[in-house]
């Protein structure tokens, strides 16, 4: 008797909670921290104000596996900002779905590298070598060779967890000229060489996952230098009065992130509306003053405030040192090399 009463009560509670949990807003997924703060300000909140479509945000740290896990579960992510290798892999296997390019104004409005069946470029960004200028009043690190030189620059340093960019930087540190990096990586010896270089400072390495971590690691003095997304470094200087420096001359890897729609999204129309809003040059041009990533719409580039140019990877004085992320190489090798990287890092 009493048990039945309890069951009834429990059931009522469950039903109440279930109804509370039903509604799901359009969900946009980006890379967290200062970057997503900026996106919220110029894209997400104005979009909701303009269209009345409520947004839920999430953040992630990349990885095609994480996309697959979301695509195979119940609908929870709709619009996601992905890296270029994830774009190609996801599109091939149907994890993400083709975009309605007409809603975006046509392919020719965007940089050629920002156009793909399943995704439209969001930003041009770079992974750079960064350090705290206050800690190095003189003899600051200026090359990836310095990053691997624990004699002259003692102390822990950090890299992004995963093979992408790490292998490129290892070869830069080993003296390979930027234009030959991917030729070397195409060979097994090249891969071995990159891992051997990483292994040479294994005990001094910490790995970060979220883009917000490198400025945090620099600020707390946990590392003396780190790889970082360029915008986060400038944002930390702007927002928190830091004196973090980017060694542009050391060489950096730049690439294009894209907005995509996940295959199991049940809100494809709203998703497309949001992507179109974020691809509008009038909106794109607002981003760089908050965080210096380059726009992908051809019209937006000319409208960007010139004051922020020195901090953008594609600025004339920076771009010569940059290496464009070889999407095709990574599409073929990312899973294999990430598995190897994880096995190496976990030892």
């Amino acid at each position: 008797m009493s048990v039945n009463l309890f069951r009834l009560a429990a059931l009522a509670g469950c039903v109440a909670m279930a109804t509370a949990a039903q509604a799901r807003d359009l969900t946009v997924v980006s890379w967290g921290g200062a970057y997503q703060d900026a996106q919220r300000e110029i894209y997400f909140q104005p979009f909701t104000a303009a269209t009345g479509i409520a947004l839920t945000e999430d953040s992630w740290n990349g990885g095609i596996g994480a996309l697959r896990a979301k695509a195979e579960g119940p609908a929870s992510w709709d619009v996601i900002q992905v890296e270029s290798d994830e774009l190609v892999l996801g599109c091939e296997e149907g994890t993400i779905v083709p975009l309605d390019w007409e809603a975006l104004g046509g392919e020719d409005q965007f940089l050629p590298a920002a156009v793909h069946e399943c995704g439209v470029g969001a930003i041009v960004w770079a992974t750079v070598l960064a350090y705290d200028g206050d800690k190095y009043p003189d003899n600051a690190p200026s090359s990836w060779a310095d990053f691997f030189d624990t004699e002259t620059y003692p102390g822990p340093r950090a890299l992004r967890s995963g093979a992408r960019q790490a292998l490129e930087f290892a070869l830069m540190g080993d003296g390979v000229p930027p234009d030959q990096i991917y030729d070397v990586l195409a060979t097994d010896e090249g891969i071995e060489r990159a891992f051997a270089k990483l292994d040479s400072i294994r005990d001094s390495l910490i790995f970060w996952e979220a883009g917000a971590q490198p400025p945090q690691l620099l600020a707390s003095g946990e590392v003396v230098m780190t790889s970082a997304y360029n915008g986060r470094i400038t944002a930390a200087n702007q927002d928190e009065g830091r004196n973090f420096q980017i060694a542009w001359d050391a060489g950096f890897v730049y690439q294009i992130d894209s907005w995509v729609v996940l295959g199991n999204s049940d809100k494809p129309d709203e998703a497309m509306q949001l992507i179109a809003y974020m691809s509008d040059p009038e909106n794109q041009k607002l981003l760089p003053p908050f965080i210096p990533y380059g726009p992908t719409h051809k019209d937006a580039a000319a409208k960007v405030d010139p004051a922020v140019l020195p901090n953008v990877p594609t600025a004339p004085e920076n771009i010569d040192h940059g290496l464009f992320f070889d999407r095709d190489f990574w599409v073929d090798r990312v899973e294999d090399l990430n598995a190897r990287f994880n096995a190496w890092a976990a030892q």
Partner: protein
């Protein structure tokens, strides 16, 4: 002479033991004592000495929407899980106390096992199990698993209050013509109430603090407080995090005090002296 050395040695031993005890207690409490003052830091750095005292991080917390939403989610899940856990745990404890049967210990071992099974196993298991049921990405699914994790606490605490429970009271109630439910509500309930409440508090704090299952089962719309804190600790270890931490410490001190008072009251009610 020999006597003399022994006393010196003994004194030395006692001194060392005291030193060790104090050091161990400091080790237990120190990290908490470090972060509470830092949460009142006027500066943004997490180091001593502090430039000044201020409530700015609490003010920031007060104004931040995501923290509020995650707090609300945690409260919903915690309350739901606690209700289920208290109902099921109490029923099981009363049932076990009244009955004697072979295999009771084995049954008890199964019922207590959620306390022992690694959380990641529970989390992964329920994740795989809930996907086809559509229970991932909902607070309901999380509350159900949290209830399973919290129920053993209720079982234990209510079980403890039933030690020394005089079953003649139930028989007396029944013989006076009361229905079983009435006997339960008017005779058994008041005696086990302290156990139900402290078990419920344990269940609540278990849910309130649980992160692993939440990571697997919740989507972006159901962030709980621990998830929000986990991201904060990893990405932006600001004094805001320490402000949240301080508030949580105050809550746990309050809960701990309540549990202790209830335990004493229960012992007194049953005439057991400590």
């Amino acid at each position: 002479m020999a006597r003399q050395t022994r006393t010196t040695g003994q004194a030395l031993g006692h001194g060392l033991l005291w030193l060790w005890t104090v050091a161990a207690l400091v080790f237990l409490v120190a990290p908490i004592l470090v972060i509470v003052p830092l949460s009142f830091n006027a500066g943004a750095f997490l180091s001593f000495p502090m430039p000044g005292l201020s409530l700015r991080w609490y003010a920031e917390l007060w104004q931040t929407d995501v923290w509020w939403r995650s707090l609300v989610n945690s409260l919903i899940v915690g309350t739901g899980a606690t209700l289920i856990a208290v109902v099921l745990g109490t029923a099981a404890a009363v049932g076990l106390a009244m009955a004697r049967f072979p295999g009771k210990d084995a049954l008890m071992a199964v019922l207590i096992s959620p306390l022992i099974v690694p959380l990641v196993i529970v989390a992964a298991g329920s994740y795989f199990f809930f996907i086809p049921l559509g229970l991932t990405g909902s607070l309901l699914g999380l509350a159900l698993v949290h209830a399973a994790l919290g129920a053993p606490f209720v079982l234990i605490t209510v079980g403890a209050t039933l030690v020394g429970f005089d079953r003649n009271l139930v028989r007396a109630g029944a013989s006076l013509g009361a229905a079983p439910l009435e006997v339960f509500l008017r005779v058994t309930m008041p005696l086990i109430a302290p156990g139900m409440i402290s078990g419920g508090l344990f269940a609540f704090i278990t849910s309130f603090d649980e992160l692993v299952v939440a990571m697997f089962l919740t989507g972006p719309g159901q962030r709980t407080l621990p998830r929000q804190m986990f991201d904060g600790i990893r990405e932006n270890m600001s004094p805001t995090i320490l402000a949240v931490a301080t508030i949580l410490i105050v809550i746990s001190i309050l809960l701990l005090t309540t549990v202790e008072l209830l335990r004493r009251r229960s012992l007194r009610l049953r005439g057991i002296r400590e």
